[in-house]
Symmetry: D3
Subunit: 290 residues, 6 copies
């Protein structure tokens, strides 16, 4: 897996602190049982999958105690086997215990997404079609969950409402048609922002390309319908604006390979966010360590 | 379902604002296509389950525009059928569109948890044993996800590290045994805080009760083992401290009914958080409304 | 004094920064007079008492300048004499001066509470009855003021509205009686949360135990009344739920020893928060230091 | 008492929310016992004193529920008798209960300060000398506690390190004397900022006036010493800069009247912050209300 | 001017509160002189220009007091004459005075940007070439200053580092050439994100188009050089990717018209942010109002 | 230029983080092109002026990566020539690129203010009259922009509404005249707070001094009028309160030297904030560095 490059912005660091605060509340009641001890621990995968979240572990524990050291044995985006050791860490026991649950919850959720994404991406192997996510993400985790999709080999769709425009049925109705909607949005949007239109019929898709849309989301079209429509849209785009990105959605996982041959550029799905179980990971304290 | 009573603290309201900010970023690029329109929309369940998150909808949209009105047709904790209308809302289209994804993401995640919880609780019907959650929750959503568990008929375990003490293997090792650990924790904890000990063997469980633990988490015991152990622990507790709460964990869903007869008070599981799909809900804009 | 174990959560660190900001405002106008100097200073107790707040000094100054070093000569919870040196610190003068007032204000307030608590605890010596605090704390200082109580030898009551339930007269009225109130609260509360009932008459106390309360707060009972009531409540609890924690409140300091013989488990009082003067501490800059 | 004019800045409103969050934590466990009830309550003074904090009550409860209404029967700064009703309020019981403790803690602390201030101010009656506070305030409460001093008839000294400069012994040492220190500070400070010098000897006070200080804090001078020194300083100031504000500190309450005749302009003391008990106030729920 | 559609996100509202806090500090010392008065005021332009910032006025004052009402007489983006009345407002004097400076500072800065932008846009009239801004904006005001550019008739370039990629000389060096850099960025970026390359020579521009860049920033090319280069780039783009957006920068205002004929799509400039004076606006209190 | 002493409060550090977040948004899309490179860069002045903002550079990059090192070659407040190297910095390329724009935007704005201030101060050379700023500052940048004025040789007027009182026409109207307004404000203000009155006529100025104002702002008086008025006000102040600070405003830059001879103490102007262009500074990456 290539470097999926999560940028640890100050905002993400602040979120890590907020999440620690959520679990710690007014302080760990068990701290007095730790008696100032130093601890050592290892993380183990309890199922096979794709690991994600390792890059957050050291920054998270550093917020509790800079004396915690973390050694990653697996990089984010790498496949892991059941029982594989993922990382080890050591430092003041009070900090290890205080951060344990938050760190694991993050990594389990993110690894679950990466694992599910990788399974879907595998179904598209050889087609040249990319698998993209959506804006169905857990509130607060948008940036991290989209990072997990990249770790699983998928690509990201827009990050929010402000980095690309997606016009849906209701926008078109309020604006008075697709052409008017595209004009209105382009007039105020930053010029690099792509304008995408969601279409449910051939006519809508054609109108979108004619209106100069940068992308068209073809929702719930059959493979046969796409086989016929995609070449028409490509030809029309060549006349109008040079190119158009075509995206299919509403595709059942079982059908991914079939849709991979329809000529679309990408297939978007929320399944890794909404249907994937967390990857189970355990943190075991140890004394047999050099 | 009785009122599961989510308290909308100022902190939760602040989180709603943060989550809106995550999706909105620097603003909705599609806003110019809305042309000041008023909108109406309805939410529909796309699968059967238990609804949760309705109480957040009005407060969330109010952060965008106080002119949005929301009418709940289903209460949190109530079962819903596929296709059932859950709520309707109306107001400025810019606000409806800006809050749509965040509101749905929350409700879909929470309803997924409530639905999964209800299914597990149903397996314990008639046993008198409660189903409890754990601290495996999505970072940032602890309070809401635990509310969803209550909506599904489960009960909550401790909310964080500060409202009850749970001593695990490593605490006991660092403190020098279960008795020392319980003493150390009780010395500094608020008196109402219960002290729970996690045990993996009969000997550990017995030592925990002898040390005066308020609760014992019996992890990965077989039903047979529990049948033998539970009465011994009850008897010992009656001598030592009056009573003890006994909790089983590591129980496969298929075995819930069996464990429901072992005499434990509750069974804790993270499955509704870590394994449940989101309940699919759609928001449809409409013009056929009075 | 045993380790009263304050956990320096990220939240407390943020509060330290906020408190510095309160005093610094837009910056220390005297900074130009410091001319880049290095400084050394010592803290002295100007009265006898129990010290508290030392653990905050280094983290607080570190927020201003990591070059400040602090050496504690007295641990939190230890008694100090008038004139005793409590700590010394050195570093850039600008940081020492900027943090001085905030650090002293905290330590003086907390040491005042610890000192007053220790005096009350002394009155209960030999009785086996604990002295507990209440939720009457200065807004913003709940965690720290309760830590000061522990430093003075007291114990903490619940930390907030969310870690234990305390049903008062008005709750009982709204819920339709003590049994209904206890049932309603237990249904939604995390299972480890204790449910306590405040009683002002024998009948109320008995009803509370009968309803399965984990604790009963006996408010403004005379010692004689308690001598009669406590054994009845213990006996009843043994039948109903195994045990009950009995707490007296509304006790004048002069009467602590007397109440200490009534059989209650603890006596709660807000006096260390609401009536204790701050312990006077001065910070003196020095040049005679090696 | 004239209107002491607390400005409810957005910052203070944010603090009220933070303080509610401190008590509420993850939510009020007793809320289910309230069953959606409406409530009515009254506040009563349990001791005589000067009331302060009433202006915060409505804004605080409004953060919980805009349906709470508050009617103040006593204005901040007015004297109250034991048993006097201070205000009444009504609204959803859940909000009344959730805000009760925080509102009372604030008002009890602030009223305690106002009461103690008024007692000290009374000792200076007829002298024309003002009683001022210091920067010894509870962290987080600076603005509110200084408001309480005004409610008690005192005046405020500087609000922080940034609205006036106070040069102390160590500043003078680092800067190389009082003249150099005053010059350095004036060079960078906003021109309206007054520069005050703390003096412990006649020579220091004279040097301060000669250096053009706007004020001199005369610390721990005897009345006799002041009687002699004050006229000299006034005369010198008339030559140098027109006028100087003279302030005495380190004055025992018993001696206030005596110091009131020494010619100083004001006497500063931290006693209302560091030595005053809270004024006891109770909130009683009622059903006998129209 | 068409509606430039500023979305008032919760984040912008929070910034308004922060900016009020910056001016208010611990409260307005003049508030006691207002004696509870109601006030009326009007804003007047003291120079001709394009107004911007009106949409912020009501939300800003609402943070101080919901009783303030604002009536806009000019819409953002409209030209105004010297002496023209822009808006009137009324409400509690304390709120009017407390928000006056912050509201004016915002509107004066934003109107200055809008005015300067309009002057530059006028120079491009008839060319079909758009004028775009850059990321040179005042820290904290990015969204608002870019809104002001739209109000002046300009268009926005990317909003930050995360909504489009701009590869500069140093990126190309580190990545090992333009092709490698484009590949690396596309692999991790959301698919709708456009990738732009900054070029300083013909060779670099050609390499960028060949690498599939969506846009090329042609920095400090002469008009003659562009006349020759632009057609070559368009032709090459038609072969490679369908189209490319061509942007000139480093253009002196006097030369805008000339560059407008070179065939580029847009010209970007930071001049409205870095060189424009504020538009002077005064707020006058009045009593002659009905 | 002497040390203008910016205090880097925790609040300013938080602002730096917020400003980075504004540009970074969800992360730098170009980061993958950096391939873990280390970078070196230098800042160059692209015009002559007075540098300001250097002290912020290291703290800002430290928020992104503590491995960035910064070496200042010019101190804040020092004059720079076109082409002069201002500082060099090195560290992880990802951090250099992520902080570049924010750091430059700050320094360019602040240096523009310092440069403009220095030019105005030069016009007053030899007059002994100081040049002061106003509250017309960019929202969010008050403290930093006022620091830039000091770096340019100017002095600061009050920092906000809370460190000095300025009574304007409308205050006097609401309070019932200047005497009543001064009394009302002094009654509630901290004693060190100076009370200034804005006057537009001789009569108002005289009334202000008679009322004991500490300062009088003489707005839009001609030099001749000031020549006559200033001595009268000085004489009156000597009788009433010892001294008064006289300030002229509404002065055109061309007239500064003339106003410098009228006997006022200072002249205030917002020109450096509202009319000064940013000082252009570029950051160039380099590989020819030892």
């Amino acid at each position: 897996m290539a470097d999926p490059s999560l940028v640890l912005t100050p905002h993400v660091r602040q979120q890590l602190a907020d999440w620690l605060a959520e679990d710690l509340g007014r302080g760990d009641l068990c701290a007095p049982a730790l008696a100032g001890a130093q601890g050592q621990a290892r993380w183990f995968a309890k199922a096979a999958g794709v690991f994600c979240g390792g890059v957050l572990v050291a920054p998270l524990f550093a917020l509790l105690d800079p004396a915690v050291s973390v050694r990653l044995l697996v990089r984010d985006g790498e496949p892991v086997e059941t029982g594989q050791c993922l990382l080890d860490l050591q430092g003041p026991a009070a900090a290890l215990v205080a951060g344990e649950r938050t760190a694991l919850n993050l990594a389990m959720r993110l690894s679950g997404i990466a694992t599910a994404t990788a399974a879907l991406v595998a179904r598209l192997a050889g087609t040249g079609v990319a698998l993209a996510d959506t804006r169905k993400t857990t509130p607060g985790l948008r940036v991290l969950e989209k990072y997990a999709v990249r770790c699983g080999g998928g690509i990201n769709h827009r990050l929010g409402l402000d980095d690309a425009a997606m016009l849906k049925e209701n926008h078109l109705a309020w604006a008075g048609g697709v052409a008017a909607a595209v004009v209105a949005v382009r007039a105020a949007a930053p010029w690099p922002a792509r304008v995408i239109v969601e279409a449910e019929t051939d006519a809508e898709a054609i109108a979108a390309v004619r209106a100069g849309a940068d992308g068209v989301l073809l929702d719930e079209f059959s493979p046969a319908a796409l086989n016929a429509l995609v070449p028409r849209l490509r030809a029309l785009a060549a006349e109008v604006s040079g190119s158009v990105v075509l995206e299919a959605s509403g595709v059942h996982p079982e059908q991914l390979a079939t849709y991979g041959t329809t000529g679309v550029d990408l297939i978007s799905t929320s399944a890794p966010m909404t249907r994937a179980p967390w990857l189970d990971i355990s943190m075991r304290y140890t004394t047999d360590w050099v």
